[in-house]
Symmetry: C2
Subunit: 660 residues, 2 copies
């Protein structure tokens, strides 16, 4: 029996009871009831796309998605990935990548649709939809593409027929003739694994017998298993709203996303219209024709026209999500979204690092601090793990160091040219001090002695994070003296989770950090440092290693030390960042390799500059320090001061010799 006693407010829950009055669990099992692992912060991280869409729609949220096409060149790919990072910050519900059969879209090339979608999911953390066209493809080939997509962590497919090649296209008895065949194939071969999107045509497909016939085709595609619809572009809000009503009228109940095309230029409009066999309404051509040579004016008009149309759609109450054809450009779409108030550049992050969208990684909730500036490298090096953070580190066959190659090299290589790097890092190094200067200039954001700003280092592809800026003065001082810092964080004792610089996680919480400092320094310095660190037990944890793997640490049983954590209303503790002595030994391979691969190799072999870098690579130590006493001012600067003081005393010369 169920002890459900109805009440006025109607919201009491009830547990089933058996005759003895004893509770049984609400579900079949309470296995996960009091699990103590760090909890997932956002339902968004575990839901599939169609559920996210439903939840956002039900809660009255408005959202958008972005369509991109694959790049033609490798440098285009690098640019597109940067664009993903920038446009991802505005909060799209998903992005989608188009599929062009002529461009080898399913290959391993860095420019293929498959690899671009995979990068978006795995490295940029974007929920992604991969287009797939079936026309003229064998079942075998299509299944292969789908298997590969699944293997890469893609969960969503836009099922399309694609344009027949040549005019003599005919239906094949056994093949894929229409998108519906692909939908059916996906459902029969992959069950419910993929979320499937199909295309809708607000003015009817150009090849359809009639608008009504085309609507019926859409209904069949949905009935065959599609989860939502994205429409072809259109120029009038009414066109879409009528189409939407007609779809609902014949029983299409799934989400239908209007495809928005902000006019960005005269040529691109003409081309698109030609391809899609659409007609541009007179009210638009009337405006555009007179300004067709003025790109800025056309773009401004396009923005204004799109905003206006989107407002009508949203105000109808029937549309909660908008799909944008970006044409791989940022400005117009971002501006439209900003004007609509949909660009949600929320400075708050669910976790202090960017979460990957790969289904296996979505619940990942702790990472070593070492890869803080190289998250794509961490994701790459741990891509074969089934469970995070409990994977097994690869051995040397992993391409993380030595000869960086292929895909890995491609996505992790510096965005700057060799010339730019030489300008920043020096085309001729005189001695170790030349290297100290580079680090110091990077920290201070001041030009080097040749007048060039140092915008990146081999370990940091971006300028200093705002958080690191808090430590700027101290960092400058120590780098000048050869404590070459590559990673650090200040201590934080309970700042609100909404803090614009150090905050993360849901509102109403508090975030904490232990002070962290990681640097390369000479073996002479390390010998002094080890003396000094005895005074700081157990307050400071350290781990010191050279390129040969010789290392010293006072880590307790080689256990990780949590250095970033958050306390939130109604949740378990979240501890997303740790200093882990085991993974540090794998990070050190990468950290030392970057000296040679990214810096040393800029110079001729045997050149003095290269020898200096090699000397540092061979002889310096990589050091990490954690100050466990987070409520107090960090003592790590005092540790470094003490080290220099010890080095400056004559007494120490003796100690130093003794240690060598």
């Amino acid at each position: 029996m169920v002890n459900q006693v109805p009440r006025g407010d109607g919201s009491w829950q009830s547990f089933k009871s058996d005759s003895s009055g004893a509770s049984t669990s609400g579900g079949d099992s309470s296995k996960d009831s009091s699990r103590c692992s760090t909890p997932v912060l956002e339902a968004d991280r575990s839901d599939r796309l169609r559920d996210k869409m439903r939840r956002r729609t039900e809660s009255g949220d408005r959202w958008f998605s972005l369509e991109f096409f694959p790049p033609r060149t490798a440098s285009g790919a690098v640019n597109l990935i940067s664009r993903f990072d920038r446009m991802g910050s505005g909060g799209p519900l998903f992005i989608d990548i188009t599929w062009h059969p002529a461009g080898d879209p399913g290959s391993d090339k860095e420019t293929s649709s498959m690899m671009i979608a995979s990068t978006a999911v795995n490295y940029c953390g974007l929920e992604s939809v991969l287009h797939l066209t079936c026309c003229n493809q064998t079942t075998h080939k299509i299944t292969g593409y789908l298997e590969k997509a699944k293997r890469l962590g893609l969960k969503n497919i836009m099922a399309l027929r694609g344009d027949p090649v040549g005019a003599d296209w005919e239906e094949e008895e056994e093949g894929f003739n229409y998108a519906i065949d692909l939908v059916k194939h996906i459902r029969s071969e992959f069950d419910d694994y993929f979320d499937i999107c199909v295309a809708g045509y607000p003015t009817g497909h150009p090849e359809a017998g009639s608008y009504e016939e085309d609507l019926q085709h859409l209904k069949e595609k949905v009935d065959a298993g599609a989860d939502f619809v994205i429409t072809q572009l259109f120029f009038r809000a009414d066109t879409f709203l009528k189409f939407l009503d007609d779809c609902r009228a014949i029983g299409i109940t799934c989400p239908i996303l209007p495809g928005i095309f902000p006019i960005q230029g005269y040529q691109s409009l003409r081309q698109l219209v030609k391809l899609s066999k659409l007609e541009v309404p007179e009210e638009i051509t009337k405006v555009i024709e007179p300004i067709k040579d003025n790109d800025a004016a056309i773009r401004n008009y396009g923005i204004q026209q799109a905003v206006q149309m989107c407002r009508v759609l949203l105000d109808s109450g029937k549309v909660s999500g908008l799909h944008f054809y970006t044409l791989n450009r940022e400005v117009a779409t971002m501006e439209v979204l900003r004007q609509l108030g949909l660009w949600t550049e929320d400075p708050r992050r669910p976790l202090p690092w960017a979460v990957s969208a790969h289904p296996k990684r979505r619940v990942e909730d702790v990472r070593p601090i070492f890869w803080a500036s190289r998250p794509k490298s961490y994701i790459y090096r741990t891509q074969d793990w089934d469970e995070f953070p409990n994977g097994r580190w690869g051995n040397s066959s992993s391409p993380a160091f030595g000869e960086l190659n292929d895909y890995y090299l491609f996505y992790l290589k510096s965005k700057s040219t060799k010339d730019a790097l030489l300008q920043m890092w020096g085309d001729e190094l005189m001695n170790e001090q030349s290297v100290y200067e580079v680090f110091t200039c990077y920290i201070t954001a001041q030009p080097n002695h040749r007048g060039h700003k140092v915008m990146c280092l081999p370990w940091n592809d971006e300028p200093l994070a705002p958080e690191t800026n808090l430590l700027k003065e101290e960092l400058e001082k120590v780098n000048r003296r050869g404590v070459l810092t590559i990673n650090s964080q200040p201590n934080i004792n309970g700042k609100p989770s909404t803090d614009p610089i150090v905050g993360w996680g849901p509102a109403g919480g508090y975030v904490f950090q232990k002070a962290y400092l990681e640097f390369f320094t000479s073996s002479e310095n390390v010998t002094a440092l080890l003396q000094v660190l005895k005074k700081y037990e157990p307050r400071v944890n350290y781990h010191i290693v050279n390129v040969h793997g010789q290392n010293r640490t006072n880590a307790h049983d080689m256990q990780p030390n949590a250095v970033t954590w958050g306390i939130f209303p109604g949740r378990e503790i979240v501890q997303p960042t740790v200093v882990d002595p085991v993974s540090f030994m794998y990070w050190k391979d990468e950290a030392f390799a970057l000296w040679i691969e990214q810096w040393g190799k800029l110079y001729e072999e045997e050149s003095p500059s290269r020898m200096i870098i090699k000397y540092i690579h061979d002889n310096y130590f990589l050091v990490n320090l954690v100050d466990n006493d987070f409520p107090l001012d960090s003592c790590l600067w005092q540790v470094i001061d003490d080290m220099f003081e010890l080095l400056d005393t004559t007494t120490f010369s003796f100690v130093y010799k003794f240690f060598i």
Copy 2:
């Protein structure tokens, strides 16, 4: 190759590298490298006894262990278990329980050696050694005992021959004739599962041919697989030290613990001497005989004599642990240990709750807050779990409520008599206010109107915890008005882990708590409370349930809320206590049952007093509240104030009626 570069300080560790210079993990796998679950705090919790002993000895620590015999009666068992709790607080490395074949020692009776040892391990968290004698036992029976011991979580056996029954004892060809047979049997049948202790005789076994022959027997027992030795009692330090040297000389290298017998009375000394066939040295009889009728004087002498002897043993540098024959008494042994400085009553706890010593539970690191005052009940109800806290709650066949029975009932029943309970809780209740008064008197530790102090409640077997005392004033106020509190904790914003009241865990850390309050209250109050709580979203998490299982909560996805956590040097976050909405539904069964089982049943059926308790049981709600904003003063008192204020307004009468 191994890149081990020898250095002066000799303490650099090295990682193996292969030819490409890449690291492989120090061990075969780094599976556990960056695991994020709450870490084990003490190696003591995972080590087996022999390893703990070795570690303590190597580190120069001094330690002790305590021997008890099983009680004869059920009330003796209750007393002995309380003694375990008290003497356990002094920090024994282990306790051991003797085995008396005539007393049904392997049975399920609450007085059996087996069940007493099991209780010590499982409920008192004490590392325990179970004695086992083999003389006159079949292999089948012995194996059965060992299997049962293993099943109950016992890990250590003291293997003894035992006293032959009758004078006509003869060796049996196939049976167990000597302790060594039992040692061999354990090792052959249970491999390395058990740690095995054997007995040593500093003056030679009374039945041995010679002292030297007996030493050889001991060596054979150790060679057969014993891990350490405890000696028979002796009266002179020299006796033991000579024995120890002789053991070492013939190659017995394992720990040998001197058995210390503080003389506690004339009769017990005589009896023991007779049983063990020892002679009391003249210097002792000379002192004792004249004072043989003065118990206090003998005990004082015994303490002084034991302290003196122990000092000689410890000062020899050959002894690091002392084993005490307590005779189930506390005073003498505790006093000896105090004078030796070995009684380590460390107010700091590894976790805020007592850790069970069961091998499966040793790594348990999070519990729901609800059983804070009833940890033995929590352990009992979750005894079949294989993994903590991820077990499956039992259904009504679990004896947690309704008819409490057998073992469960025995160990959880109130220590007070029915009369004492009636004096405290009232032999005649007039109305609900009579119940409010009982709660209020418990909180204030003031006598009730009949002049009796209320020392316990059905949910709290002990007076208020020091921590709860911090909240006394507020608690009194609300209990007086029918907010019947049964569990609470103040908020703590980073107190040192060494704090005498709220501290726990290793030194150098910081502990935190969210304010917590749990109480029974009327449905009228709850209706007002729910109104009030709307103002406190999301700051306050609540869960409200009645005996029928109707419940309301704002817990996020039914996830646990961490309410106690600690940050320690070089470790991951520890979060030992959660408010878990799932287990709350199981706790509520127990919490409501206690009204009837422990309170209501004190009165005649149908009596007004019993009807009042039954009314509360049937109609009140159990409420828990968490204030998530731990850095601020708790708002929970304000919530209760607001509730009463709302109840006091006329406006609310309408709301109230509407809700009913």
